[in-house]
């Protein structure tokens, strides 16, 4: 199934897309920084009653420990594991180096999280060589600059590249060309597809669909009538058709941060407001780093009373600002005002903020009014705090009320 090598390796490829994903990222950073942890099962995550595993080293995974597993369960599976609280500032620092490496390989990089990204390598052959060579080079550069291991999948479509990087783990590189793609996909279980969660999987299985091949062989109209528009979409994916382009992050549509609390919080809880301020800071920082501003701020809350099946009611409230902003204080004020509008009710399990309706900030043409007026104060404060965070980690200096529970770090969702 592996192809590539010399010459016009990508003739017939509509696009060349790489998905690079760090192996056990947080745990690997801990093992990198603390040599005594190397070769040992390391679990990064919260130890509180509701803590979850954020990242597990390969040594720990051998015992069945997985990310997103309750910490208590992980401890049962692997009692000798070393539990480490996450150091987001440090991970972000490594992620920045990682991003710089990615940027050297492609002008269009779409980060999915701190430690994984799509790279559009279409046309890169002329400059950097055939895809397999680029992949090897990328792995080498990441290892050299961060000391960490990345797995890479290369395919003509996003969906396949992501599956490949996952199959390549640990420390692997896999490539599939367009002609081999349908056959390769056909053998994979259908839950490998993006968008197939527990509920969809159960329904697909009920319909006798277990592999992507099963799905691809079905009649599109039948799938549509049975599963709606998503049925037709999954059918396309299963056939290896995925038109989604790699979207560079300046073209992204929104920024989001959210976290699940260790204990459900009352709607007027101080900790809830603190979390929102921390999310605002994280979003503001990312907006500023990317030189964009957001006009619309959305507050997202999940209430504690479940609907069953692991689902919870979601409340969202949005506000559109008069002018787009990248100021933490503006985002936080807006989010807190939205929270006040939500009113009383069930306790809150999860809180998040999303910033969308993005505008590109013109970095070359400064604004007449900003240089002179109050806005400049906020801008200078943001700049100073961003600089401190860059140097000492995101939690070195925080605004009033922002210390969120460590068990539940602000999690980037978009």
């Amino acid at each position: 199934m592996l192809k590539g090598g010399e010459g016009q390796a990508t003739a017939g490829w509509p696009r060349v897309i790489a998905h690079a994903d760090m192996d056990a990222f947080y745990a690997s950073v801990e093992q990198l920084d603390r040599p005594e942890l190397r070769g040992k099962p390391v679990i990064v995550g919260g130890r509180s009653a509701r803590g979850v595993v954020t990242s597990a080293s390969y040594e720990a995974r051998r015992y069945g420990v997985r990310a997103a597993m309750p910490s208590a369960q992980a401890r049962q599976l692997c009692p000798q594991a070393v539990f480490v609280a996450g150091r987001m500032g440090r991970y972000a620092e490594v992620a920045r180096t990682l991003r710089a490496v990615f940027d050297e390989f492609s002008p269009v990089v779409e980060p999915l999280s701190l430690d994984e990204a799509f790279l559009d390598l279409t046309g890169a052959e002329r400059l950097l060589g055939p895809p397999l060579v680029i992949g090897r080079e990328l792995k080498r550069a990441v290892r050299e600059r961060t000391g960490l291991v990345v797995s890479v999948g290369i395919a003509p479509v996003k969906m396949a590249a992501k599956i490949l990087s996952d199959l390549a783990k640990p420390d692997g590189l896999l490539l599939i060309g367009p002609e081999d793609l349908p056959e390769f996909l056909a053998g994979l279980p259908v839950e490998r597809l993006w968008g197939v969660g527990r509920v969809t999987l159960a329904r697909l299985n009920q319909a006798g669909i277990r592999t992507m091949g099963d799905l691809a062989a079905r009649d599109a109209a039948e799938l549509r009538s049975r599963f709606g528009a998503s049925g037709a979409y999954l059918h396309q994916l299963a056939q290896g058709r995925d038109a989604r382009p790699v979207v560079g992050d300046w073209q992204r549509k929104s920024y989001g941060e959210e976290n699940t609390f260790a204990h459900d919080l009352a709607r007027d809880a101080l900790a809830l407001r603190r979390a929102l301020i921390a999310h605002s800071e994280a979003i503001g920082r990312r907006l500023r780093a990317d030189a964009v501003r957001a006009r619309t701020i959305t507050l997202k809350l999940k209430t504690a009373r479940g609907l069953g099946g692991g689902r919870y009611p979601v409340i969202t409230r949005s506000h559109t600002l008069g002018t787009a902003s990248d100021d933490t204080a503006v985002i936080a004020r807006t989010a807190l005002a939205l929270l006040a509008r939500v009113g009383d009710g069930d306790k809150i399990r999860l809180a998040g903020i999303h910033a969308h309706n993005l505008e590109r900030r013109d970095v070359r043409q400064p604004d007449l009014f900003e240089g002179w007026q109050a806005a400049s104060k906020a801008r200078r404060l943001n700049q100073a705090l961003d600089l401190l965070a860059q140097r000492f980690g995101a939690e070195a200096v925080t605004r009033g009320l922002t210390r969120v529970e460590r068990a539940a770090p602000s999690r980037r969702v978009k």
Partner: protein
């Protein structure tokens, strides 16, 4: 009902309302012109809800007092392409209209005239009407005030408080217009006998542009009155009137961004500056239009470079004494202001590469233009 019009009159009236009718077809009636036959006049009205235009022309009608609407663009095309001196309109059933002109005959479908929206001529109930006043000026003077500010209005709808020209009375008997897009700012003062107003108003760009067109129309009277009334403004000239809804919002404190002093004052003829910048800008970046002004004792060098296409530079002699320095500007921001000024000496007031520059003209001492440098 049947009426007969002079084709050229009709064409002129329809031309006047073209700018206002909605291009997009989201609300069909906004693409229509409302016509009302009253005695021996045909009254035309068009609006996009924010700006409205009324005009009228003489006609001979068989039966007066009829109302109907027609799509403004198609009607304009028909009248423009038609032959002959007169056009005859005849109302048919179900809002259909027949037009006859020369040998040609057209049939157009109108909409129910009763569904035509109200013109922006009425304040909302209970609206605060603190800003009210009447600005009486020579039409040419008002036109110049508009010309020297409107180009600096922000095209960004999101910055709604900058999407119009600010008008205020800085002192009794004086009128001031200010426009800015956040990167540059134009300010003009003129004497305006009898004009006083508490606070200022923001006149939307589109309405002001229509007003500017109106001022260019030939008319018997030389002065015009711009009436400001709460949320509205209107101006009549000859048989036509423009009305508009003002922008509700706070205009930024523009006084704070006008430098009180500049370190260097460099004077040079307008024509020299225009042609030098035009040549230098050929190789400026398409998106940012940046040009560099580099000063050394006795000279100014205007240059642009583009890594992909090439570079240009031109040195002119100027009266500059001081340490060498250079500053970058968006060439378009310089060209646009120079285009609306009269020939004569222009002064560049500059301090360094990050402070706003000030452009003034000897031919208009009551005009100021402030422009923020860009990083090149």
């Amino acid at each position: 009902m049947e009426l007969t019009l002079k084709r050229t009159d009709f064409l002129a009236g329809l031309a006047m309302v073209q700018g206002i009718v909605e291009r997009r077809n989201t609300v069909p009636i906004l693409g229509h012109v409302l016509m009302h036959v009253e005695d021996t006049a045909l009254k035309l009205a068009a609006t996009d809800l924010e700006v409205g235009i009324r005009t009228q022309l003489p006609c001979a009608a068989a039966k007066a007092d009829a109302q109907f609407t027609l799509g403004a663009r198609k009607l304009f095309e028909v009248v423009r392409e038609a032959e002959g001196d007169t056009i005859t309109l005849k109302t048919l059933d179900n809002d259909w209209i027949e037009l006859r002109c020369g040998r040609a005959r057209f049939k157009m479908m109108g909409l129910d005239p009763r569904s035509f929206p109200a013109m922006p001529e009425r304040n909302a109930d209970g609206a605060a009407r603190r800003t009210a006043g009447t600005l009486t000026l020579d039409a040419a003077v008002l036109a110049q005030m508009i010309d020297r500010t409107i180009f600096a209005v922000s095209p960004d709808e999101a910055r709604y408080n900058l999407s119009g020209v600010y008008l205020e009375s800085p002192a009794a008997g004086a009128a001031r217009m200010v426009a800015t897009d956040g990167h540059r700012l134009a300010l003009i003062d003129r004497e305006a006998a009898g004009f006083t107003m508490t606070g200022g108003v923001i006149i939307p760009r589109k309405g002001l542009a229509e007003l500017r067109k109106l001022l260019a129309e030939p008319a018997a009277e030389t002065t015009v009155e711009l009436v400001l009334d709460g949320q509205l403004a209107r101006c009549r000239r000859g048989p036509s009137e423009v009305s508009m809804r003002l922008i509700e919002g706070e205009f930024p404190d523009y006084r704070g961004v006008i430098p009180k002093t500049s370190r260097f004052h460099i004077a040079l003829p307008r024509e020299t500056l225009i042609s030098t910048i035009r040549r230098a800008a050929i190789f400026s970046n398409e998106r940012f239009h940046g040009v560099k002004l580099a000063f050394a004792p006795g000279t100014m060098t205007v240059s642009s470079t583009s890594p992909e296409t090439g570079e240009a530079s031109e040195t002119v002699e100027v009266d500059f004494h001081g340490d060498e320095f250079s500053v970058g500007f968006n060439a378009a921001y310089l060209q646009q202001v120079l285009a609306v000024l009269d020939d004569g000496p222009i002064t560049l007031g500059l301090t360094d590469d990050v402070s706003p520059g000030v452009i003034t003209a000897e031919t208009d001492s009551a005009f100021q233009y402030v422009v923020m440098p860009m990083r090149l």
